[in-house]
Amino acid sequence: MLILNRHAHSVLFDGERCLLPLDRIEPHLVTHTWAGVDRHDPRVFPHTSTVNVFSDEEVEAVCSWIIEEHGVRHVIALHEKAILMAARLRSKFGLPGIGLPTATVFRDKLRMKQAAQAAGLSVPAYAPVDSEVDLWRADWSRGPKVLKPRLGLGSEGVAVVADLDDALHRWRGMGQTPGVEQMQIEEFVSGAMYHCDAVVEQGRVTFAAVSEYVARPGDFAAGGMGGSLHIATGELRERILRLNDRVIGALGLPGAITHLEVFHTARDELVFLEIAARPGGGGIDRYLMRAYGGLNIFEAAIRLEVGMAAFDAGSVSLVDRSAWGVLGFYPGGTGAGRGGISPERFAEFGIAEHKHNPTSGGGPGGGPRHCTDYIDRYVVNASDRESFLKQTEEIRAAYAQGRKAEIQVPHHIATVDHL
């Protein structure tokens, strides 16, 4: 099996347990050096290459060689940025799994919306942007719009533009960047944002969980906070699950883990935003694991890729109806030090896990590069939604206080992924 990894190496583990079925596969790992080989064990991954993941030419060359030389039968990518390459390799070598045509629909926000719209789903008004003329053509009387890369992820490169002047200013700024990606513009939708994380097996959704974003991913900024809260019950949850089924059916997906995002407007409308054919990031897997009795969506993705059932037991169910979620703090900002919450206070705030990511940052002002580029991430539990939101504010305040006090988190805490 070829594993094309752009996450930290720890994504392949649950604590010390490797998520790969090592008794069934010989892993060939193609990764990077931004935490991509942290705590790498050559006995587990004797075939490992660290490559320039920004060069498709290089990645394709080395992966192609590995596939042919070692008789690789499965290619897996858990990160959005590797999805297309994995699909291209599958198509090129006739390997099972999502091929290039399907993967493109799940990656290209324009084609994704076209497919969803064709299936009768509500999507924000959108249009491709290939030149300034396309910006002039947009209907600016309908309010602000969102300018974003068609193949973007993690809200990277996304800009909310108030009017044509703003849009032109942003566009010209991007135009100065060589190799700027294909762009699209869409109507700005106000409202709460939700995500639905699902398992699709043989074209059928066999598991799905709905969560609410604590903050809109597009608003990520230095020193800010993001996160999600699992929604265990309710009519809105049921509606989002139905929408998720329709989108997956419309886009045609044989088997994969998906991450769908949707707006819930003030008019009680659900507006489909986008869907990815990979596990959601930013710690979603960690709280789903708590709520669903050991479900690991990354492990499920790997199992599906090698032709196994997503779960050992065949299915999973909700075992904890309390409010589970994740809160993440972005690097940078005005506070001194890296901030943090003393481990002694974890119980007080319902913090079940903490992960510190020393490789976060690198964006403007030392801030995040994308919406899950957290420097500190906490899996949080509360009795219900209201308590969770109250704890969120308390954690936010404590984190800010820790930032000011420059709390030095003990080394063993800082390097342990999961408590």
Partner: protein, 383 residues
């Protein structure tokens, strides 16, 4: 950007390569450590590829060619031929595979000497069986012969056998026999550029009862005619066709002159480059890694830091290490290493079976060697 590929690098060689200021691409055998070899938070290439396998040329063609690399180098024995093959495939500078093969295969090396510099060689043969071997030894007027693998290194499998004992050898397919030359053994560390050979230093070696090297000292204690050795090395390297890069040539001094034992187109092992650097100021590691891309060459006037330098090694009885005690060294010590409790010590058959070592600098080779040997003797390994 200049891109240098290093096959089978140690952490030290990887650091040396990066110190040259070029982009470094490591090709390591599968199962070798990855994390300590790469540079974190930047693009840092490392490929787990068995560069000794038949599939390596396809990796060169399909991956290294795409990377538009500038040169492929190795300072390990098993990486020399793959590096040469890669350079030839990609049209890059480097010693041709035929030259590397001639140095790796001692029979080919002897044949080349026989044709072009017979005075530097000794009697040799590649017998099919013990009887043929015995006939060859007797034809030299000798009663003993060296029996060694044609492509061995690190003294592994080298034996001095009486002619009567040759019958105990049952498999001859990859063996070579050579005339035994008594006396001390030396190594010449040289560097060649465009066919011009420069003798950088000569090291004198000490062995134990067998052929495993237990100490080296630079410069030699024995009085040597350096000009004659330089001439011999030049003749030898010309004979085997080496025009560029380092060479580590082991030789002995017979009454009729210099006799080449073996040679490799790489720097010497056993810490010899460190001894050479101290005594000559020339960094053979950097030069060896960087020469194909025009980097790493020594300054016009290198600055030695010591008049003499020596390294000596410790040995121990086979078994699992239970206890290790180290000597109290002094400021003349460059480095000290030893096995750890739990390591397994094997019978002393090759350099890899040694259990510790210490390198020192000194004012003269005699005292440097004596001190290194004294410290090494105090590395006590209980098995």
């Amino acid at each position: 950007m200049t891109r240098l590929v290093v096959l089978g690098a140690s952490a030290n060689i990887a650091a040396v390569a990066r110190g040259l200021g070029c982009e470094v691409i490591l090709v390591q055998k599968p199962g070798r450590p990855v994390e300590p070899m790469v540079e974190k938070r930047k693009i840092s290439h490392l490929y787990s590829v068995d560069f000794t396998a038949k599939s390596f040329p396809s990796f060169v063609d399909r991956v290294l060619r795409v990377l538009r690399v500038s040169a492929v180098v190795s300072v390990t024995e098993e990486g020399l031929l793959p590096a040469a093959v890669a350079n030839e495939m990609l049209g890059l500078p480097g010693s041709p595979p035929a030259v590397v093969e001639r140095l790796r295969d001692k029979a080919l090396m002897r044949q080349a000497l026989l044709q072009r510099a017979p005075g530097l060689s000794v009697g040799f043969a590649c017998p099919r069986d013990a009887e043929q071997a015995a006939r060859a030894v007797r034809s030299w007027g000798a009663d003993h012969a060296i029996v060694k693998p044609r492509q061995g290194t690190a003294s592994l499998g080298v034996r001095l056998l009486p002619v009567d004992a040759l019958a105990t050898v049952t498999e001859w397919s990859d063996l070579l026999i050579e005339e035994y030359v008594p006396g001390p053994e030396f190594s010449a560390e040289s560097f060649s550029t465009g066919g011009r050979h420069r003798l950088i230093a000569v090291a004198e070696k000490r062995t134990g009862d067998g052929f495993v090297e237990l100490a080296h000292v630079v410069p030699p204690i024995a009085p040597l005619d350096v000009a004659a050795i330089a001439a011999g090395i030049t003749a030898f390297l010309d004979a085997v066709g080496l025009r560029d890069g380092p060479a580590h040539t082991e030789f002995k001094l017979a009454p009729e002159g210099m006799k080449v034992i073996e040679s490799h187109n790489r720097i010497g092992g056993d810490g010899i480059p460190g001894l050479v650097r101290a005594v000559t100021g020339i960094d053979l590691k950097a030069w060896s890694v960087g020469w194909p891309i025009g980097l790493g060459a020594p300054a016009d006037r290198p600055s030695p830091t010591a008049a003499a330098a020596a390294v000596a090694f410790a040995t121990a009885k086979p078994g699992t290490v239970r206890e290790v005690s180290l000597p109290q060294t002094d400021e003349s010590t460059d480095y000290l290493w030893a096995v750890q409790p739990g390591d397994v010590v094997r019978e002393l058959r090759s350099s890899a079976d040694r259990v510790g070592g210490v390198a020192v600098f000194g004012d003269d080779p005699g005292s440097a060697l004596a001190k290194a040997k004294s410290f090494a003797a105090q590395i006590r390994v209980v098995t």
